[in-house]
């Protein structure tokens, strides 16, 4: 488990990529949008460091279409995929519920996914503090496991576990702080 954790240090970008489709799905639940509109909304909330490419929007949308999680509601004249207007389906809402309700496996650099989950929850009127509590419990569960291993282990085990524990502790502090700031965040993203 702690070996997995150390490997996770290098997996930050993958983690974000995996959450893009759910994030776009979440933006669609707030209301149907065209492809270019989706990119604009994503960049406004999450694209500070790396704006989304149009190509990512289209490939993601075609995958979501194939899986029945979104549907094309209309299309503007002029063709081109950015002109398609997408809407979330019932299956899409269920899929989004699953994603938001499921805690992430505690890994370093998780905050990009967690931040996306919090914002999508707030945008779609879900309970963001419940999501943070669920994640908090998951983090503590792993911390307990590492602590048990540390107590039973040799010095090398202790050092490896301690490294993971300090990182998880930092995540937990962020979760706590975010919980305390949810009201402010909600009012900022709605303006």
């Amino acid at each position: 488990m702690h070996a997995d954790y150390a490997r996770g240090v290098y997996a930050a970008c993958i983690v974000l990529a995996m959450s893009i489709s759910h994030t776009l799905l979440g933006l669609l639940q707030a209301g149907p949008r065209h492809g270019y509109d989706l990119k604009r909304a994503f960049d406004a909330h999450f694209g500070q460091d790396r704006p989304l490419h149009y190509g990512q929007v289209y490939s993601t949308m075609s995958r979501l279409l194939k899986n029945g999680l979104v549907e094309v509601e209309g299309r503007e004249p002029g063709g081109g995929p950015e002109r398609k207007r997408y809407a979330i389906t019932d299956a899409g809402v269920t899929d989004l519920d699953d994603w938001l309700g499921r805690p992430e496996k505690p890994e370093p650099y998780l905050q990009s996914v967690l931040y996306a989950k919090v914002v999508i929850s707030l945008l779609t009127g879900r309970d963001a503090s419940a999501l943070l509590d669920t994640q908090r419990a998951e983090h503590l569960r792993l911390m307990r496991e590492l602590t048990r291993r540390k107590i039973g282990g040799d010095l090398a085990d202790q050092l490896v576990c301690d490294h993971a524990l300090f990182h998880l502790e930092a995540d937990l502090r962020w979760l706590e702080l975010t919980t305390a700031r949810l009201d402010r965040l909600a009012s900022e993203i709605h303006t």
Partner: protein
């Protein structure tokens, strides 16, 4: 992995709907809590959220404005003061952040104190105290006074004193709050191991997740309300 000891066993100590205000400041606003025999439960939450007040109410040190605290099925507030104090001495142990040892007494005399108060003779009390100091790896400072030892040693002496008369519940309020990581870790390991050996339940108040990770489960206090996290995730 994280099996709770006797998940269907009745609560040893349980509080419901506790309210407590200090003047206009609400410290507890409808807090619930329960712990079973031998369980280690972390009480977490931001500073000022009501953790210490909850601990004081559970231990019968502070009466709540309203709500119930039951120990072994008996309502604490219905006990006469003298009986409540006796129960606290016999069944409860306490460790605080600092300042709990009597400065004029040596460490072994400090640890022997709870036994002396129950009428045990000095020799016998100090012999048992010395065993506890050994167990907490501070036998070498037994003839020092609290002012002559380090913070980490002081907390180990305090844990020994809290457990020497074999309490059913150990109340620990930020027991590592004044220690560095290494000393804090060691105190937690010794505290939890000793509590498990004696079967004492532990109410562990802490705002640190690495300390809470020594518990079986956690309860989070926010704005005077306690939330049991066992059902979450």
């Amino acid at each position: 992995m994280n099996e709770e000891p006797g998940a269907d066993a009745p609560a040893l100590l349980a509080a419901t709907e506790l309210h407590k205000s200090y003047g206009a400041t609400p410290a507890l606003a409808g807090a619930d809590f329960a712990i079973r025999a031998g369980e280690v439960v972390a009480v977490m939450g931001p500073s000022g959220s009501g953790k210490s007040t909850l601990l004081h109410c559970l231990a019968g040190i502070v009466p709540p404005d309203s709500g119930s605290v039951r120990y072994q099925g008996r309502e604490l507030s219905s006990l006469p003061d003298a009986e409540r104090s006796a129960l606290r001495r016999a069944d409860f142990g306490f460790v605080f952040q600092f300042g709990q040892l009597v400065p004029e007494l040596t460490c072994v005399e400090n640890v022997a104190l709870p036994l002396r108060l129950t009428g045990i003779a000095r020799r016998a009390a100090e012999a048992r105290a010395a065993e506890w100091l050994e167990r907490l790896e501070v036998a070498d400072v037994r003839h020092h006074r609290p002012g002559q030892i380090s913070g980490g040693q002081g907390q180990r002496v305090a844990v020994a004193r809290a457990l020497v008369n074999n309490p059913r519940v150990l109340f620990a309020d930020e027991p590592t709050g004044a220690l560095d990581s290494l000393n804090g870790e060691r105190v937690m390991q010794l505290l939890v191991a000793a509590a498990r050996d004696t079967g004492a339940a532990v109410v562990l108040v802490t705002h640190e997740s690495r300390v809470a990770a020594y518990s079986d489960r956690e309860v989070v206090v926010r704005d005077g309300r306690a939330r049991d996290m066992a059902g979450v995730a």
